[in-house]
């Protein structure tokens, strides 16, 4: 079990889903598992260096009561959790080259948490188990 890589594709860019992904990542890193993350679409947009700490909202199913709940029970910011995960274990975060082009994002526009840009083929080279899509 511990040899399995946790592979995540982050698509959604709302703070609740990014936090969920960051919690899984930091937990897996603490358990000694490698983590392999690909950022696409709205998740990639949230990793722009100048937007990381902006309010990215919550998933549509939250509703007004859900938004309040998430704000009250907020843990550390997802970017901080991911930074800790990188200190604890082997966590690779890559930007999807297609989304980069679509959004007109350059590597230097992204937070230093992002290790580089890659396509799906190189992403799948590191996938050795199930793939989770968030």
């Amino acid at each position: 079990m511990t040899d399995d890589t946790l592979s995540l594709v982050l698509f959604s860019g709302t703070d609740d889903k990014l936090t969920s992904a960051a919690v899984l990542t930091v937990g897996a890193a603490a358990m000694g598992r490698k983590v392999n993350i690909l950022l696409q679409y709205w998740a990639l947009d949230a990793f722009r260096a100048d937007r990381v700490h902006k309010d990215h909202g919550v998933a549509p199913e939250a509703g007004p009561a859900g938004i309040e709940l998430v704000q009250q029970h907020g843990t550390e910011h997802w970017s901080e959790l991911l930074r800790q995960a990188k200190q604890i274990g082997e966590v690779a975060i890559h930007a999807c080259s297609h989304s980069m082009e679509m959004f007109g994002i350059a590597k230097d526009d992204l937070d230093p948490l992002v290790d580089g840009v890659e396509g799906v083929a190189s992403f799948f080279m590191e996938v050795d188990g199930p793939l989770t899509f968030i």
Partner: protein, 78 residues
């Protein structure tokens, strides 16, 4: 406790995944064979510490609960 605690980590008031995340970092700051004490209030930390120790090979020497505070003593893998 007969053995000496080398380091104490106070995670009271913090929820998953922070107690385990900080423990994974703190265990590196003590020597193999030394003891790390962690205090937490998250009930989920009980199964989490058992799982974390089983997976990482560090030893959960003891865990107790007093007035809602969980105390874990972990011996770093030698």
């Amino acid at each position: 406790m007969s053995a000496t605690i080398a380091k104490t980590l106070d995670m009271k008031g913090f929820n998953c995944p922070l107690p385990i995340a900080k423990t994974a970092q703190a265990i590196r700051e003590i020597e193999p064979g030394e003891l790390l004490q962690v205090l937490a209030t998250d009930p989920g930390s009980v199964p989490d510490f058992k799982a974390w120790c089983r997976t990482t090979g560090n030893q959960l020497v003891e865990h107790t609960e007093t007035d809602g505070v969980y105390r874990f003593v972990v011996r770093r893998k030698g």
